[in-house]
């Protein structure tokens, strides 16, 4: 049911056109942060205003839309954004990764490999990977344009000197096509290897910071590291308690007051599909 008071997918056509231009420029220069005139959205900054605007600009009436928040389809943020586009665009929605054509995500990449023709839209809080090292925007832009990325390794150096290993575990910086250093949004570094060589289009929207960047399909993406401290995609060393998967990213849940914990897939669709197929973890009822 489309709410008739709004244009298709909430934003007016001129705005969507402007956002599409930014997206196309982003796709043409992988990893480059394209400024765009971010609009006020009917939700607070930090709730995915950037991702929602990118989704609104790429959605067509024939699309099937999926939203995940930390991998889950049923959390507040995911439910409200899904309902938002149900009302304003009338598109079909799904929780199944393979059935969706546009997937908006916060903090995860689905476990199931994406295919050509799908679009993955990320919500990005802080698009500038150098921000906490160099506060001046004028300087970080210059560093990007001159490819001066030594500072990024200073951060990793500090990690090792303080913790003995690279302790950055999310928003792990990557280098795109040997050129731009990019913040992959706060996805766990477990997901970093999936960024590269992906069949789907990946779009990143930062609403408050007014930046859009993109990875076209099959882009080379390399996680930064040191020769003697190579990048490692880490996860909790357990199988999923519900579906028994050993290859998925896990959430740790506290289940009682006696320190009892269980680990479950953060990707709810992946976990449910495995359970439906008869896989059972040790904690499954």
């Amino acid at each position: 049911m489309t709410d008739q008071a709004y244009n298709f997918a909430y934003l007016d056509e001129q705005t969507k056109r402007m956002i599409r231009r930014a997206i196309l420029k982003g796709l043409a220069i992988p990893g480059y942060q394209v400024p765009f005139a971010s609009r006020e959205m009917p939700m607070p900054y930090g709730w995915g205003t950037g991702g929602v605007q990118v989704s609104a600009a790429v959605l067509t009436p024939e699309d099937t839309f999926k939203v995940i928040d930390q991998g889950a389809d049923d959390t507040t943020n995911a439910v409200s954004i899904r309902t938002f586009f149900q009302r304003t665009a009338g598109v079909a929605t799904t929780t199944s990764t393979s059935d969706a054509t546009v997937i908006q995500t916060r903090h995860r990449i689905p476990e199931e490999a994406l295919s050509e023709g799908q679009i993955l839209v990320y919500q990005v809080p802080i698009p500038e990977p150098l921000r906490f090292l160099e506060p001046r925007e004028s300087e970080t832009r210059k560093m990007h344009s001159l490819e001066e990325y030594g500072l990024m390794h200073v951060k990793l150096y500090e990690d090792i000197s303080r913790h003995g290993h690279i302790a950055t575990s999310y928003a792990y910086p990557v280098k795109v096509e040997g050129r731009y250093v990019m913040d992959p949004s706060p996805i766990p570094k477990f997901d970093n290897p999936k960024l590269g060589d992906m069949a789907a289009i990946q779009l990143f929207g930062a609403g408050r910071e007014q930046r859009i960047y993109a990875l076209p399909p099959y882009t080379q993406v390399v996680s930064l590291d040191f020769e003697d401290h190579p990048f490692e995609a880490s996860k909790a060393d357990h199988p999923c308690g519900m579906c028994g998967a050993t290859d998925s990213y896990l959430d740790e849940l506290i289940i009682d007051d006696a320190g009892g914990r269980m680990f479950v897939c953060s990707d709810t669709d992946y976990c449910e599909a495995r359970q439906a197929a008869g896989h059972k973890g040790k904690d499954a009822a």
């Binding site: 001066e148 150096y157 090792i160 303080r162 003697d228």
Partner: protein, 256 residues
């Protein structure tokens, strides 16, 4: 012999004011040049013009680059100039805080230039950083401490280590001993003199402290109102000043 740095007719105006006017000199490899003068005489403007921090209104700064020979650094592209700033040049600020990253450990500060020129081996970077801390007399156990926990003299020595780690050939120093007490100054000067001699560095030192140039500089330029009023060998200028202003400068040093 090709001069390492050849400065010709550098002029910088701030509106109607003159920052520095028509300064020319040659600096040869291994030579230390001192620039003295009172506040506002254009010393720092001249230094910043040479180091590429300011763009002069006229003149040339020709640097003998390793790969392409003498090049005018004013007209070269910004990436090339910034690359020089990370490799063959070093800049020691008067206030260590301007030249250090205060939120990053001492080792990270020293390692930054190495990583900026492409070092990607943590063990090597750390070993070099520790080695350099030793050379500027900072205990190796402080390698993971932040500069905020260092004393003023240590911060200044750390800044020097951070600048010299990539083996530059030319060091610009802006009042390197300013704001330090005399005994710390003496140690720093001793250290600088050793490093300059050992590494065969060329340096340009801006200061108002005549003792600093007496100890470090081979040659001296005296500036007043943006112009060079006298130049020559350090001992010659200090012991037998010719220009009235140089005479005033030399005679106003307190004897204890």
């Amino acid at each position: 012999m090709t001069p390492l740095l050849s400065v010709q007719g550098i002029t910088k105006r701030y509106g109607a004011h003159i920052g520095c006017a028509d300064v020319s000199f040659d600096l040869y490899p291994g030579e230390v040049m001192g620039i003295v003068g009172e506040s506002g005489s254009g010393k720092s403007t001249l230094l910043n013009c040479m180091a590429g921090h300011l763009t002069p209104d006229a003149g040339q700064v020709v640097f003998d680059t390793r790969t392409d020979g003498p090049r005018d650094t004013i007209t070269m592209s910004e990436p090339e100039r910034r690359m020089l700033g990370r490799t063959d040049w070093a800049f020691v600020h008067q206030h260590a805080r301007d030249g250090l990253r205060m939120g990053v450990s001492a080792g990270g500060n020293v390692g930054e230039r190495l990583m900026a020129v492409g070092e990607r081996h943590y063990g090597d970077i750390r070993a070099k950083a520790t080695d350099w801390l030793g050379r500027v007399e900072i205990d190796a156990s402080r390698v993971d401490d932040r500069p905020t926990t260092f004393s003023g003299g240590m911060q200044q020595r750390l800044q020097i280590a951070r600048n010299l780690v990539t083996g530059p050939r030319l060091v610009f120093m802006d009042e390197p001993t300013g704001g330090l007490d005399v005994s710390v100054q003496a140690r720093l000067l001793d250290l600088l003199r050793g490093l300059v001699r050992d590494m065969g560095l060329s340096a340009i030192i801006v200061t108002h402290d005549l003792a600093v140039v007496r100890l470090l500089a081979d040659r001296l330029m005296v500036m007043k109102s943006g112009r060079v009023v006298e130049a020559g060998l350090t001992d010659q200028v200090l012991d037998d000043p010719q220009h009235a202003y140089s005479q005033l400068l030399v005679s106003s040093v307190l004897q204890v």
